[in-house]
């Protein structure tokens, strides 16, 4: 079963974190190791990190179908910072991976305990309908 793990941690107008260099490096190394471990366990389908929200645009179709773009608004709460799609045996395993990601080290090496939204990907084969 496939699950998406969404890290909804970015805020509008948030720039790069100004942590001490050692802490930043520890954080980056942690995320790299997580991706590597998921590849090695044969569970990683896809992982991507997203740009900062200042690059985000809200797009709607105008009257003629042409795109009308808008900036995102500072009051919009959290933005997707990145996501993993994993293919795992159980939901519990997906939660365990999310918990590991959540505890990525922040300033001073303390776990960030970020909220990670976990949802099943609709990938089950359809059954015969009556």
């Amino acid at each position: 079963m496939k699950y998406i793990l969404m890290m909804n941690t970015m805020r509008a107008e948030q720039g790069v974190p100004n942590w001490p260099r050692a802490d930043l490096q520890a954080h980056i190394a942690f995320m790299k190791k997580l991706g590597q471990d998921l590849r090695e366990s044969g569970e990683l389908v896809l992982a991507e990190g997203l740009s900062f929200p200042d690059r985000a645009r809200l797009v709607r179709a105008g009257k003629d179908g042409a795109p009308v773009t808008d900036g995102v608004f500072p009051e919009s709460k959290e933005f997707l910072a990145g996501f993993w799609i994993v293919d795992v045996e159980t939901a519990e395993r997906a939660y365990a991976i999310a918990a590991r990601a959540s505890a990525a080290p922040g300033p001073g090496g303390a776990p960030l305990n970020m909220p990670i939204e976990v949802r099943p990907v609709m990938s089950a084969p359809p059954q015969e309908m009556m």
């Binding site: 389908v45 045996e89 084969p125 059954q127």
Partner: protein, 428 residues
């Protein structure tokens, strides 16, 4: 240079994979590395044979190429460790043996040994399936990865870890005793069944690039049947696959929407597959040891034999599900039994039986219960509740085509004109 390369050549090559693997694994006493070596030999064959023609002795060719990889690997290992002469002499012996024994150490049971090894109880079902497709099915990692929509590197890791687990469990590469085989067969059949079931998802047009897992499962089960000719359940599983696959062309509409059994265009069903399935099933049932797969195949046969949906022999299906509930009780058996009961004795009786499943924690696919309940409520004419349950089922399913189907059922019912007795005219 012999025959041109075609689908039959490809089938031949895949069939030879487990035979070559058996020889190499036994000769080098290392299943995991031998499996990698044979995969490399397969990849080489897939590039060379279509161009240069199929070699005189194709199996010998695969064995030789794989053995050479193994020897190279051993040699580089030795170089790396800077070992002394004793080990190097081993390599020479192995290599010399390899040249002579190609044909003599072939064991017809190798494919069977591999099948049981790959469906080892220590493995999760997804690893067992992946390893079976590669080691027994002769498929490439890339093909398997595409079939399951995961990156090739991920699939390669999954297969390699599966082999590590087998190694760690310490099972020898040998034919299991009759009793061990009997104990382990259900796991093997279940793995084959899961491969077939996954084929439902891969048969849609959006994934034309994907391997046809249903056909791969049928191919593997055919070889299992050939190797275990006296086992009625293996035959039953093969019959079930054929009798189900026969309906494939009628199962989805032009936009890949699901079409329920009673609405399918039955002229699209594959008569040859139905005939073969029924023949297999008849022979299996005459052996006297009825089981889960034979009974499910029997139900599929009853559906396949009805020229129109209304000709379906529901009393017979009901009898089969009653037997299935006794032979192999499960929530899914109860669910199907309830459907058959509704068709024979009325929706109310069917709904009554469904109640026993409400508190059954073993039923993992709750949406199936909601969908069946919705259908039976619709039969009963309870439109409001039918709509409600179709929507609950749509919310709970993990399949997009199912969700589309169930949502459409709910809105069809909302929009359908009510007849005087409250029943809707359009069942389906």
């Amino acid at each position: 240079m012999s025959k041109p390369w075609d689908a039959a050549s490809e089938r031949l090559l895949r069939q030879l994979a487990p035979q070559a693997l058996g020889v190499v694994a036994r000769r080098f006493r290392d299943f995991a590395s031998a499996e990698d070596a044979v995969q490399e030999a397969m990849l080489a064959a897939f590039t060379q044979w279509p161009v240069e023609g199929i070699p005189e002795n194709p199996r010998g060719w695969l064995i030789q190429v794989a053995s050479r990889r193994m020897t190279d690997q051993v040699r580089s290992e030795i170089a790396r460790r800077q070992r002394e002469t004793a080990a190097a002499r081993d390599v020479e012996t192995v290599e010399a043996a390899g040249e002579i024994e190609i044909e003599t150490d072939m064991d017809p049971d190798d494919t069977l040994i591999l099948l049981f090894l790959c469906c080892h109880p220590a493995l999760t079902s997804s690893s067992a399936i992946a390893l079976t497709l590669r080691a027994v099915g002769g498929l490439t990692t890339a093909e398997i990865a595409r079939a399951f929509l995961v990156p090739e590197a991920t699939m390669a890791q999954r297969i390699s870890r599966a082999k590590q687990s087998i190694k760690a469990s310490g099972v020898p590469f040998r034919l299991l005793s009759w009793q061990e085989r009997a104990e382990r067969l259900p796991a093997v059949l279940h793995a084959l069944y899961l491969i077939f079931n996954e084929g439902y998802a891969s048969s849609s047009g959006a994934s034309l690039q994907r391997l046809d897992l249903a056909h791969e499962a049928i191919r593997l089960t055919r070889s299992a049947k050939a190797l275990l000719p006296d086992n009625a359940e293996v035959a039953g599983l093969l019959a079930l696959m054929l009798l189900t696959d026969a309906r494939r062309a009628g199962r989805t509409g032009p936009d890949e929407e699901l079409i329920p059994l009673n609405k399918q265009n039955r002229t699209l069903w594959d008569r040859a597959e139905i005939a073969e399935g029924i023949e297999l099933l008849t022979a299996a049932l005459s052996q006297g040891s009825v089981g889960l797969y034979q009974l499910q195949a029997a139900v599929a046969a009853v559906h396949d034999e009805a020229a129109r949906a209304e000709d379906t022999d529901w009393p017979q299906i009901l009898a089969l599900y009653e037997l299935l509930k006794r032979v192999s009780p499960s929530p899914m058996a109860t669910l199907n039994h309830a459907i058959a009961t509704a068709m024979v004795h009325g929706a109310e009786r069917g709904l009554e039986l469904l109640k026993t499943l409400d508190s059954d924690a073993r039923l993992t696919e709750r949406h199936r219960l909601d969908a069946v309940r919705a259908h039976l409520l619709e039969m009963l004419g309870d439109r409001e509740n039918a709509i409600k349950h179709y929507r609950t089922a749509a919310e709970r399913t993990m399949s997009i085509p199912e969700r589309n189907y169930l949502m459409t059922q709910a809105s069809r019912l909302e929009e359908s004109p009510r007849s005087l007795d409250g029943k809707t005219t359009d069942l389906g």
